[in-house]
Assembly symmetry: C2
Homo-oligomer: 142 residues x 2
DNA sequence: CTAAATGTTCTAGCTGCTAGAGGTTCAAGT
DNA sequence: ACTTGAACCTCTAGCAGCTAGAACATTTAG
């Protein structure tokens, strides 16, 4: 039986995060000692590892909830898990495209910076000049 | 003189966001009508455009605050603005590297998904298998 | 002069944690 | 058996950067 601290160490998760996962129902309520402390077994180690691994791949918690659900029901179709993963891949590729565009413009503005005073700073000039903007809608959340 | 709504439309900003920027001191407190509604002039349009453009390039609000400050003082050195932009470029490149790694692993797990039931789903299997993990520390925030 | 559109403030919510206060329990050493 | 100190407990609030809603006031066009 593991304490929450050792569970955290085993899975690379902060204690607070484990409790947070419990709070939002991603992790089950574990058994407790007489004094009220949480104790975990192997199943919880596996589940938390699964969650952390999925997080490292950028899956949002809601997607992980679905994946865990699928994982708990071995008789359901694999297609759902597959489509969740494909959705995530799309997200990643979208973000990459955005970042690529950002990098290009950032490089351009830095490249052109000559190094005088801010009156004729290219960086600021680019930001001021609305004409060469990226497409309107949010490149922001990239 | 523009209402907050028209300012928003001109700059592609939601009304609430304009007020939020005012609240955190990025936008100045504007003049008001007798009835208490905000009215904006050209200077505010420029300033908000600057902010939005910088946001589209992914600059965090604190960096934008510095950039605005530099922009307001034309006699200060351009180096500061330049280094803020370089910092941002580094961030972007870091995130791109992370996303590249994620994409690789996501592609791998999708590629191997055969399409039976979840009992032998490759997607879930990869997530369960802790051994082939990415390097521990946060690939998450990518 | 009325009605609709837009404005106002205030509060709470989103994601995914993280940190702190203030208190309790556990395990090891003496 | 007793003490100490690390690790646990709950609860609340905070981070970024908005976004949405309630409940009300103002503005403007017909």
């Amino acid at each position: 039986m593991l304490t929450i601290g050792s569970l955290g160490k085993k899975t690379g998760t902060k204690v607070q995060t484990v409790r947070y996962y419990e709070q939002i129902g991603l992790m089950p309520e574990p058994g407790r000692t007489e004094g009220g402390q949480r104790r975990y077994g192997d199943a919880e180690v596996d589940r938390l590892s699964f969650i952390r691994h999925a997080r490292q791949l950028g899956f949002p918690l809601e997607a992980i909830r679905e994946l865990l659900d699928l994982s708990d029901n071995p008789d359901r179709s694999c297609h759902e898990a597959d489509s969740i993963a494909r959705r995530q891949l799309k997200q990643v590729e979208l973000r990459m495209d955005r970042l690529k565009a950002l990098r290009t413009e950032l490089k351009r503005m830095i490249h052109e910076c000559s190094g005088g005073n801010t009156a004729d700073c290219k960086v600021l000039e680019v930001l001021r000049d609305h004409s060469e903007c990226l497409t309107d809608h949010d490149a922001i959340g990239a």
